[in-house]
């Protein structure tokens, strides 16, 4: 446990040193406040629209940003140590490969969690203080849900980045594959789903179809933040399938947890079987 924390602590202090933590927090806070105040600008007014609309917009932007930041933060976790020549040395210390990877995960995971809590937390507090007639309780609940799911989504992509990082031997390749993962889950997946939907002309099993959304953590994340308001009208595109999912919010949470637990276990397994 001690060595896991030693590795995590170095990652944390690295992200303080290179200003990553500060930069991500700032981006999140700016984004949240910007959307809160100007989200309704398209309909001709400036000012806080409503909590559900704000959270829905945030979640839509979050699926682009959170995976990207998580992948950038973590893609070189192992391959970077290897290229820097420190991996071999680290492994000669009383430190197992699992401990090294879990320490990295703890460090990166805490960095992302801290940035999310600080960035969106500040925005949430600002909205509560500055907007006159917002319902504090529902805002707080929505913000907590949003922050919690954002952290889980980020952890999922950190774990996916590790799967790459323990497999490849060069940093540029890891970066390329990380971008490919982002591209697939954020852009391609929904297109494919939509394509399947249209091409099958309704022949596709209506029970099975909504479950396909569970194969993409970004879809689970959006569903989770939108469905909670009981307002299916906000669900657009393939997400409307999610209204038919029989698992409810708890199931979606479990889905997000699985989406970081399974890749993490996979990365641990791959790393342990890798030749140094």
């Amino acid at each position: 446990m001690n060595s896991i924390w030693t590795i995590a602590r170095k990652e944390l202090s690295d992200s303080l040193r290179n200003r990553w933590l500060m930069a991500i927090s700032l981006v999140f806070a700016t984004l949240a406040l910007g959307i809160a105040w100007f989200g309704a600008a398209a309909s001709g007014q400036v000012g806080y629209a409503s909590t559900p609309a704000t959270i829905a917009s945030l979640a839509s932007l979050g699926i682009f940003l959170i995976p990207l930041i998580a992948l950038l933060l973590a893609y070189d976790a192992i391959v970077g140590e290897e290229e820097g020549g420190t991996l071999l040395l680290l492994l000669t210390y009383p430190l197992s490969r699992s401990q090294l990877l879990l320490g990295k995960f703890l460090g990166h995971g805490l960095t992302l969690a801290l940035a999310t809590v600080i960035g969106f937390g500040v925005a949430g507090v600002a909205i509560a203080v500055l907007v006159q007639d917002v319902a504090i309780a529902s805002l707080a609940a929505a913000m907590l849900r949003f922050i919690g799911s954002t952290v889980l989504l980020g952890w999922g992509f950190i774990a996916l980045a590790y799967v790459i990082s323990v497999r490849v031997s060069e940093k540029p390749i890891a970066a390329g594959l990380a971008l490919a993962i982002w591209f697939f889950f954020v852009l391609i997946f929904d297109l494919m789903l939509l394509g399947t939907l249209v091409a099958s002309e309704g022949q596709f099993s209506a029970e099975l179809l909504p479950w396909l959304l569970m194969l993409n953590p970004t879809d689970i994340y959006r569903l989770l933040n939108i469905v909670a308001f009981g307002d299916s009208a906000q669900l657009s595109g393939v997400l409307s399938l999610g209204a038919d999912l029989p698992i409810g919010a708890a199931g979606l949470w479990v889905g997000l947890v699985l989406w970081f637990a399974i890749p993490l276990v996979g990365a641990l397994f791959l790393f342990r079987n890798r030749r140094i």
């Binding site: 001690n2 060595s3 030693t6 590795i7 170095k10 690295d14 040193r17 290179n18 820097g84 020549g85 420190t86 071999l88 040395l89 680290l90 492994l91 000669t92 210390y93 009383p94 430190l95 197992s96 030749r275 140094i276």
Partner: protein
Amino acid sequence: MSCFHLDNVSYRYDRSPVLTGIDLTLEPGEILGLFGHNGAGKTTCIKLILGLMTPNQGSVSVLGGHAGDPQITQHIGYLPENVMFYPQLTGREILNHFARLKGASLNQVPQLLEQVGLGDALDARTKTYSKGMRQRLGLAQALLGKPKLLMLDEPTVGLDPVATADLYRLLRELRDGGTGIVLCSHVLPGVEPYIDRAAILTNGALKAAGDLAALRRQANMPVTLSLDPANSVSALEHVIDRASGNSGLIIKTESGRLRVDVQPREKMALLNAVMRSGEVADISIHQPSLEDIYVHFIGSGGLAHRGGSQ
């Protein structure tokens, strides 16, 4: 308890053998030189002892335990070839990090950095370090937590002569304190005075192992005598010819001196004869150096074959 003991160890990488049938032991308080050409299997040997890999055959025991066990690796210091560190961190931060990982006290960090001559660069980022400074930091890293087994891969690369001498002095102190040390190096004349035993690897097999005297015996290489004649060169030459019974000793004249290559077992007989004759004014004896022995063992294996096939 041996520092490590390799018993009939073989290792294959994708079916091609890297090490075959290695038997090697290091006792506490001993410096072992591990030599061999590039790709001979030195690094693989070290990785097996560090527990980074497991052998396909044979057994590796380290400090009375299993290679790679955390309780064992805690007592091993390792300096890899071309050691690299996190460029954004200072020497002190890096050593603190590694000390925490090793479960060693942080108090020794400034003292260790002082000891390797990095006292002034304690708080400079390592990206500003020269090759030699990185090497010293690597050495300080290897010394964390007073290791019982120390393995150094090319420790003198990038070090100036004074730092090199300091390093060897330090290694002697550690050895006298009971640390077992493995030294891999290509600078054979440099390490020769400091090693207790040498092991020579070629193509994954242990070609020879033992102290220098034993290796010299095993190699059976001629000893070179350099003789100053008391009277005339020809008189001395005559004495040598007679003493050796014209057994084909190579005699060369070099600015009035004679160089004679003699087999080790014939050396004393020849010396006695020369001394008795009174024809010699001065004698110096050159034993084959570590480099000569190395070339002898390596040459008879790899290079000679390559040369012979032409």
